[in-house]
């Protein structure tokens, strides 16, 4: 998964400034950076929920040029190969937990219902929510809801899972139960791109770190060096320090 020379503006706000990034397969790439730096915009480019103005996107067999019109068919195909987990879960309130997880497999992948249900039950078990199949989203805690959202994304068997601050809306105890699931997925070599403000989690899970600021990539590489107290980039050292303070 690779973005090349991506530009994006909202009006006069040049949000992404000619950035190029690649997201290795079977690895966890963590994106960090101050608020408003463009992390969500990058993530949303990867499943075409947001369209950059220019640049190229290579993913699997897709070679998209954002300066040309992206067809609906291309959008759907890319979205079927990527799962997205949102900060505020966005579960479908009119469906049960099970209904949420099988919605994509039955409606989009046209899987037989029984097969979709069997897979969904396995996935709910995996995220620690066996027995919650018949609950409705508003009967869940935030941590449970987010784990359902992760199961919903996994049910599509996407090549990549994109997570935009998946724990920012959660209390610390609830955050842990979600992070445990993500660590497990990382361990299983699920390809992931995670935006997070939790530096401890980032350090633990990242195979690769991207630091974004003002729509530019200030760091792209090894997490060890990034988190090292000897990181030569003072801006990054300060950022990590301030974020770590916040987490304590």
């Amino acid at each position: 998964m690779k973005l090349t020379n991506i530009n994006k503006s909202f009006g006069d706000n040049h949000v992404l400034q000619d950035i190029s990034l690649d997201f290795p397969e079977h690895k966890t790439t963590v994106m960090v950076g101050p608020s408003g730096s463009g992390k969500s915009t990058i993530l949303r480019s990867l499943n075409l929920l947001g369209m950059p103005d220019s640049g190229h996107y290579d993913f699997d067999d897709f070679h998209l040029d954002f300066s040309q019109k992206i067809t609906n068919k291309q959008k759907l195909a890319v979205r079927r190969s990527t799962g997205m987990v949102f900060q505020d879960y966005n579960l479908f309130p009119n469906h049960t937990v099970l209904g949420n997880v099988i919605e994509g497999p039955t409606q989009v992948l046209k899987q037989p219902r029984e097969q979709a249900i069997a897979t969904a039950k396995d996935l709910l078990n995996k995220v620690g929510l066996s027995g919650y199949e018949k609950h409705y989203p508003n009967q869940l805690s935030g941590g449970q809801a987010q784990r359902v959202a992760i199961a919903r994304a996994l049910a599509m068997h996407p090549k990549y899972i994109l997570l935009d601050e998946p724990t920012s809306a959660l209390d610390p105890e609830l955050e842990q139960e979600v992070l445990r699931v993500l660590l497990q997925l990382a361990h299983e070599k699920q390809s992931m791109v995670v935006v997070t403000h939790n530096m401890i989690f980032a350090q633990r899970v990242a195979n690769k770190i991207i630091f974004v600021e003002h729509g530019q990539i200030l760091y792209d590489g090894d997490p060890k060096e990034f988190f090292s107290p000897d990181n030569p980039n003072e801006r990054i050292r300060k950022f990590i320090a301030s974020m770590t303070m916040k987490n304590l």
Partner: protein, 235 residues
């Protein structure tokens, strides 16, 4: 007095069940379909020839919301017979009063309800559209499976109110010679010279009908919201 009441109630009720209720139910059903199509057209992001359709729909909604229902009834029933076009419509557009009633009430309800449905669709959080897109649903799937079920819950109370208003507004059909309840009450009053009694009686029957509907509305809202309002079990 009780004699008169006892005699006229069956006549009024029969007019109610024969005309008032069918007029309201059929018009509301057709109006809802029109409203849904109008709302979806106006919310569509398609361009090209579709923009013309959008403009037509916008004009229709504007027209029916900005003119009195009674005037609309008069135009359709008394006016259209004079819409004569040589070769195509030599005799104008003539129809049975009941048909004219259904057409006018449907179009009127459709215009109002389309605004209700449009607002309800807009009230569904944008995150729902995104979550559906993110699992690869098409726009049509998203609308049918995710957005409309949620919009319907939001639209239910205002739509129920529209229906209740429609039941009362069918009394305007008296003016285009439909033998609905109000028309029948007028005829009885003309015979027995008891206008106060007759109009009060028909008012009570309208109130009865709409109260039953209000009750049903409450029940429907409860039924469709039970999962959304379900009690929190944990946390």
């Amino acid at each position: 007095m009780w004699e008169i009441v006892r005699e006229s109630i069956p006549q009024l009720l029969s007019a109610g069940f024969k005309y008032t209720i069918p007029l309201a139910i059929i018009s509301f059903a057709i109006g809802l379909v029109l409203a849904l199509l109008s709302a979806l057209t106006r919310l569509s992001q398609k361009s090209g020839a579709f923009l013309i359709l959008k403009a037509i729909v916008r004009f229709y909604v504007w027209l029916f919301r900005s003119t009195p229902l009674l005037v609309q009834l008069f135009i359709v029933f008394f006016g259209l017979p004079y819409l004569k076009i040589k070769g195509i419509l030599p005799h104008g557009v003539r129809m049975h009063p009941f048909t004219a009633g259904i057409i006018t009430f449907s179009l009127n309800t459709g215009a109002y309800a389309s605004e209700t449905i449009r607002a309800s669709i807009s009230a569904v959080p944008v995150g729902q559209w995104e979550a559906a897109s993110a699992i690869g649903m098409t726009r049509l799937q998203t609308i049918w499976r995710v957005i409309l079920p949620q919009a319907f819950r939001i639209a239910l109370p205002p739509l129920s109110n529209s229906f209740i208003s429609l039941v009362k507004d069918t009394s305007l059909a008296a003016s285009i010679t439909i033998m609905e309840m109000f028309e029948v009450s007028q005829q009885i009053a003309a015979e027995n010279y008891q206008p106060l009694l007759m109009y009060s009686l028909v008012a009570v029957i309208y109130a009865l009908f709409t109260s039953v509907l209000s009750y049903l509305q409450g029940w429907l809202e409860h039924y469709f919201n039970h999962e959304v309002n379900a009690k929190k079990v944990n946390s």
